[in-house]
């Protein structure tokens, strides 16, 4: 039983085969490390899985019954999937609080028109902003936060969807959530990933730091030039000759 898998999925950018026939399944309720050298296609794969980029061919399976040859981005929360971005993407010229409320308030026009936010929404926002230590900053523009705080706000946004979506949300894809963070912030992020796993969520973690990968992931998938070159437990995958070669260069 898998909750999210791909079958022979492809994406070319001009001549570049960014994702080149990837068939993988993420283990439910586990943290899967998705690693590979720069430009190996990790972010592109996440973009394909989340409808940010259309794929050329192949299939994506969600749960047992949904089989997709394209994804409408706005269906993603209903499919139970969400993500963070390597190149932090917030609603910059909006307050921190609104960056959270916007992912939990009504998704239809009339619903939104006749709603501001309810105590329910505010409670979720307070909870997740406190979790990442940003509640005091709720009235600042996202734009005015420090780099690390901005990374944490993206995490809080995902947590808010998790609180609100409850049972629906099952898979969260993190694209380099630790990059450039100070140790105390790294601790918050890794606790968040473990918390999500303890709730039974499927977590995908893109990360370059192998110590973090060894510590957190239950399973590792290694990409190189858009293809899967190894897969298994961290100890197994990282010791493969092909993986070492991919990282050290041929």
């Amino acid at each position: 039983m898998t909750i999210l898998r791909t079958q022979n999925i492809h994406k070319n950018f001009g001549g570049v085969k960014a994702v080149d026939g990837v068939s993988i399944a993420f283990e439910p309720g586990k943290i899967t490390g998705l690693i590979g050298p720069n430009g190996s296609g990790k972010s592109t794969l996440i973009n394909l899985l989340t409808g940010m980029t259309a794929f050329d061919n192949g299939l994506i399976y969600i749960g047992e019954h949904t089989r997709l040859d394209h994804i409408h981005p706005y269906d993603l929360p209903d499919f139970g999937i969400t993500r963070t971005f390597q190149d932090i993407r917030l609603f910059e010229q909006m307050p921190v609080l609104d960056n959270i409320l916007i992912v939990i308030t009504s998704r239809n026009v009339l619903g939104a028109l006749f709603e501001k936010h309810k105590k329910y929404h505010l409670d979720i926002a307070e909870k997740v902003l406190r979790q990442v230590g940003l509640w005091e900053k709720r009235d600042c523009l996202a734009h005015d936060l420090s780099y690390g705080q901005r990374k944490l706000l993206e995490i809080a946004r995902v947590l808010a969807l998790n609180e609100d979506g409850g049972e629906v949300l099952h898979t969260i894809l993190f694209d380099e959530p630790f990059a450039g963070l100070f140790p105390e912030m790294i601790k918050i992020v890794s606790e968040t990933l473990c918390l999500l796993r303890s709730q039974g969520k499927t977590v995908v973690l893109v990360e370059h730091n192998m110590d973090i990968i060894r510590e957190l992931s239950d399973h590792v998938i290694v990409l190189d030039s858009g293809q899967v070159i190894a897969e298994g437990t961290p100890a197994h995958a990282l010791s493969q000759a092909s993986v070492i070669e991919a990282y050290l260069g041929k």
Partner: protein, 288 residues
């Protein structure tokens, strides 16, 4: 005094234009340069229904607003294929198309001759013949548009519109069908512009296409840039300022015959200065 009332009426007509355009440009981040097209459709539709078909003011105005809204929805569907600079250019094109139709469909619009003799509004037997009574009507409608817009801005919908402006693709993956939101706000604000058109036509009692060209769209855009993006009060102040500008210029000693033309020069220069030193406008919360 009559003249002051005249200026106040113009102000009351431009408030809905500026406020509604700010919902599109300042809040939603869609750089539309076609607002005068909806203003024009509102003016012509109201006029034709009243003059040719003898309709009452209120039903004519309502149908005119709906026509403006429908046209905007059609334009919006096409515009949804474009982003940023291209969006602005294509919207630009729509204004020119509507203007040309008003100018050339002579059997309907009398082309450059315009349509004279438009009656003043009559509502439930009450005729708004005097300028003072018209001012009250215009202010009431302007206030209504302002309050509706303020309601939108304060609601979750206002937050969503800003989200579209900030990062439409990210908003989409959090479950918003952003195309629908953009169409709705574009249609709704075109209705507000259509309302201003109906007011304008029945106030001046004469319309011709020249009022509804690209110049006018840029004039309204200047109001909201001046007053500030994503700030409704700013748009009101921007409208007030640009309406009063020729009078201010006359006051500081420009001969009255060139004061009107100088308005163009001065507001151009003001915009440049503003962009250099206060890019968010007087009260703005958002930088283009």
């Amino acid at each position: 005094m009559e003249y002051l009332i005249h200026l106040a009426i113009l102000f009351a007509i431009y408030v809905p234009l500026a406020v509604s355009l700010n919902l599109v440009v300042g809040y939603t981040g869609l750089l539309s340069v076609t607002h005068a097209a909806f203003y024009g459709v509102g003016a012509y539709a109201t006029t034709l229904l009243v003059v040719n078909f003898g309709w009452g003011f209120i039903p004519a105005l309502l149908v005119a607003m709906i026509l403006s809204g429908l046209l905007a929805t059609l334009f919006g569907l096409i515009l949804s294929r474009f982003r940023d600079d291209y969006y602005a250019l294509v919207s630009f094109g729509f204004n020119i198309i509507v203007y040309s139709i008003l100018l050339n469909w002579e059997s309907l619009t009398r082309g450059p001759l315009g349509i004279p003799g438009i009656p003043r509004p009559e509502i439930f037997g009450l005729t708004f013949d005097s300028n003072l009574s018209f001012l009250i009507l215009a202010l009431a409608l302007a206030l209504t548009v302002y309050l509706v817009s303020a309601g939108i801005v304060k609601s979750s919908l206002g937050r969503v519109l800003k989200g579209i402006r900030e990062d439409e693709k990210v908003l989409a993956i959090f479950g918003y069908n952003t195309e629908v939101f953009k169409l709705v706000i574009f249609g709704l604000t075109a209705m507000m512009a259509g309302l201003a058109g109906g007011l304008f036509a029945t106030y001046i009692t004469f319309i011709d296409p020249s009022t509804f060209g690209l110049n006018e769209s840029i004039f309204i855009l200047a109001m909201i840039i001046l007053g500030g993006m994503a700030n409704l009060r700013g748009s009101v102040i921007g409208a007030l300022f640009l309406i009063l500008l020729p009078e201010i210029l006359r006051f500081v000693g420009f001969p009255s015959d060139i004061a009107a033309q100088m308005r163009q020069v001065v507001y151009g220069a003001l915009l440049v200065l503003l962009m250099l030193y206060r890019p968010q406008g007087l009260l703005g919360e958002y930088k283009l």
